[in-house]
């Protein structure tokens, strides 16, 4: 057995140990098992990276999982450039967040439980990214969903938490529905669900059509869009984005790990992984790009007005995920993955900082009740500030490079909607900077607006929490340096390493534009970022009363944004409530109750009624008996004779 198989199985072992023995024996020491396991995975992941850098591609089957007729699928692993990037992202973030959790979750009653879930999550996520076939991908896909469910609903005695967990799972199932169908179509057309044969044969089927539900559709478009359904769910894109903000009910490390750095990016990973298929369908790519663009704008606008610390970051995540899809949709998979990679660091950092703030604030999340925290929590402030700069695309930081790459590829790529999505992307960059700094200013600057008690308790978080912050901060700053665009890189003598690295898997489309254009695009993005920060500074530091006035003035807009465009309400109205109403009033009330059961109970009661009716004929009077006999004779004789 290849030792890389241990990468996922170490966390699995940790999970098993923790769940079995955590409650009784490990208790406060549960984290050791998980951390050691995930650290081991990280080491192996780094080794895998080395291997891949040396040009090896690892692909092996562990055992046959399912075999039925022509359908065969294994548990097997594929480690190529894309996988290894994901491996690094997942194991690194996971390790750091494990460590962070030691401090954050300290004293919680479900300590062992938390760590076992984290380990299980890591296992699932690694299975997802390391899969060499669609079904195992689906396995990991559902596995991370499960862990997400567990961890969102970690504080299960809170109704909102358990609601949110449930919602996350069910909403994801909508996406998985399409994903599953996608796998079916893949199998039915390619006869296999392994990546290698599928991707290698994809081009030969580029023009094929497939009769789907009676319509002849372009095969590749069909597969790509069905698979993309899964991405929409997992990565919280419109229209399935509703679960992610609610998912913030989970403990903050979870939000950082699952709902920022790793799991939610699985959708992007899926698109990138299936790039050979997506690339064959212009329509599918367009859909991906537009979905990403619209989602990013949509989420960003909501993020502008939210007051919940974690939700703002969550909307930001949705928005950034949209960005990644935007990149994939214009064919710049590398850019998407690059952004995924940088985003993992700065977004995880943002969340962890938020967690640190919560920790200090005693669980308070309303940024309107914070302020001036920089005085009490310098490390948190510093790291969060850097992360916010990074996300706002301040040159030199990780976010700048990836975002710029995306915008440039959108602008200069071959996509017919490229210019449009570029425009949106730029707008979003502005909004992103604005709300990120709105957050910073409201939280760390100004006057403290919370209670005295809270103020009294304010303190910097323990080492186990701040060290991961710092380490992630390094990532948020430096992670982008592997992808410095040629425009800048040429001057300082570095390559766009990541693009070259990923090229064998994802290809690397060249932008069709001059250096000048590229420069302009880059400057615009820097400018809007700075403008956003500036506007935030203006509104929240210089003229703090302005936001309220604006809210008053544009009340309708404000309310729509504040209520997230009423999407939750809409879904409740068109899906949840009709389903339950149908169940209650139609299925139980009419079909089961009044049709089927009416027949089922009606036949016996009709027979019973007939019975009591017929009983009346048996009067006890002999004449009647004889009369009936005689009638019987008459009828029989008459019929037989007249026949």
């Amino acid at each position: 057995m290849n030792s890389y198989a241990l990468i996922p199985f170490l966390p699995l072992a940790a999970f098993v140990i923790n769940i079995l023995f955590g409650r009784k024996y490990l208790k406060e020491n549960a984290h050791w098992v998980s951390i050691l396991a995930v650290a081991g995975s990280w080491v192996l992941a780094v080794m895998a990276l080395m291997d891949v850098l040396n040009g090896n591609k690892i692909n092996f089957d562990l055992y046959t999982w399912m075999l039925s007729g022509g359908f065969k699928v294994s548990v097997g692993f594929l480690i190529d450039q894309l996988t290894v990037v994901m491996l690094i992202v997942v194991t690194t973030c996971s390790t750091l967040i494990h460590i962070y959790s030691v401090g954050y979750m300290h004293g919680d009653t479900g300590y062992y439980r938390f760590f076992s879930y984290l380990s299980l999550f890591t296992f699932s996520m690694l299975m997802l990214v390391m899969a060499n076939n669609f079904l195992q991908l689906y396995f990991g896909w559902e596995g991370v969903g499960l862990c997400s469910y567990f961890l969102i609903g970690y504080y299960f005695d809170k109704k909102s938490a358990s609601d949110a967990g449930k919602k996350a799972f069910i909403v994801n199932r909508f996406g998985d529905f399409g994903f599953g169908l996608g796998i079916f179509v893949v199998f039915l057309t390619f006869g296999t669900v392994y990546y290698e044969p599928v991707f290698s044969q994809a081009s030969s089927l580029a023009e094929a059509t497939y009769n789907f539900l009676g319509y002849d559709v372009h095969l590749m478009t069909l597969i790509a869009l069905l698979l993309f359904c899964g991405s929409i769910g997992k990565s919280a894109q419109i229209p399935l984005h509703v679960w992610l903000p609610d998912a913030m009910e989970g403990p903050t490390p979870v939000s950082a790990l699952i709902h920022a750095a790793t799991m939610v990016t699985a959708g992007v990973f899926l698109v990138a992984r299936c790039s050979p298929i997506f690339s064959l369908s212009e329509t599918a790519l367009m859909v991906v790009a537009l979905t990403g663009a619209i989602t990013s704008l949509f989420a960003a606008t909501i993020g502008l007005v939210q007051n919940d610390l974690k939700r703002i970051i969550a909307y930001s995540t949705v928005s950034q995920l949209g960005y990644m899809f935007l990149a994939c949709g214009v064919g710049a998979y590398t850019a998407g993955i690059f952004h995924l990679y940088t985003h993992a660091f700065f977004k995880a950092l943002l969340f962890l900082c938020a967690g640190s703030v919560m920790h200090a604030m005693g669980g308070e999340l309303d940024i309107q009740k914070m302020g001036n925290l920089k005085k009490y929590m310098p490390i948190t402030y510093a790291t969060m500030l850097i992360a916010s700069f990074s996300i706002s695309g301040i040159p030199g930081l990780a976010g700048f490079f990836s975002k710029d790459e995306i915008l440039w590829m959108a602008y200069a790529g071959e996509s017919p909607v490229g210019k449009f999505v570029w425009a949106i992307g730029t707008l979003v960059a502005f909004l992103t900077a604005f709300y990120s700094f709105r957050l910073i200013f409201l939280t760390f600057h100004g006057k403290f607006r919370g209670t005295h008690e809270q103020e009294h308790h304010l303190h910097e978080s323990p080492k186990s929490m701040t060290i991961p912050l710092v380490l992630l901060c390094v990532g948020a700053v430096a992670a982008g340096w592997v992808g410095i665009p040629a425009l800048i890189g040429e001057n300082i003598g570095v390559h766009n390493y990541i693009a070259e690295f990923m090229k064998p898997v994802l290809g690397h489309p060249e932008g069709h534009g001059t250096h000048g254009e590229e420069m302009v695009v880059m400057l615009i993005s820097i400018a809007v970022g700075l403008a956003g920060i500036g506007l935030a500074y203006f509104m929240y530091i210089i003229r703090p009363e302005l936001p309220d006035r604006l809210a008053q003035q544009f009340q309708a807009v404000y309310r729509i944004l504040f209520n997230k465009y009423y999407v939750d309400e809409l879904y409740s109205f068109i899906i949840v409530r009709p389903a339950i109403w149908t169940a209650k009033n139609v299925l139980i009330g009419i079909t089961d109750g009044h049709i089927i059961e009416a027949v089922v109970n009606g036949v016996p009661s009709a027979i019973a009624a007939l019975s009591s009716g017929l009983r009346k004929i048996q009067t006890g009077l002999m004449q009647h008996y004889a009369t009936i006999m005689a009638t019987g004779i008459l009828i029989i004789v008459a019929i037989m004779l007249l026949r």
Binding site: R615, K616, Q618, T619, G620, L621, M622, Q623, A626, T627, A630
Partner: protein
């Protein structure tokens, strides 16, 4: 010569009259007598068949019918008597403890 049909029709008529009595009369004894009437109707046809077929088996049968009728009457009347002891009635519509 009287045609056989006349006898048969007579027999049928008596049989039906007996049946009519059985179907309508309220008094058990008269119902009984109606049955006897029906048996006599059968006897008439048996005897006439015998006569016309020049065969005595019909007569044998009539002989047995009369025997059985006597036995039936004996038991029937015994039942009526024991019924009488319990309930002073010979009316069939008062014997409807059991129905339904």
């Amino acid at each position: 010569m009287v045609p056989l049909h006349w006898y048969l029709t007579l027999s049928a008529a008596v049989f039906m009259i007996g049946m009519f009595g059985f179907l309508t009369r309220r008094n058990i004894i008269i119902m009984f007598m109606s049955v006897e009437l029906m048996l006599n109707a059968v006897n008439i046809s048996l005897v006439s068949f015998s006569h016309y077929l020049q065969d005595l088996r019909g007569h044998v049968l009539v002989f047995f019918v009369i025997t059985v009728a006597a036995a039936e009457a004996a038991i029937g009347l015994a039942i009526i008597i024991s019924l009488f002891r319990n309930k002073q009635t010979a009316h069939v519509d008062e014997m409807n403890e059991m129905k339904g």
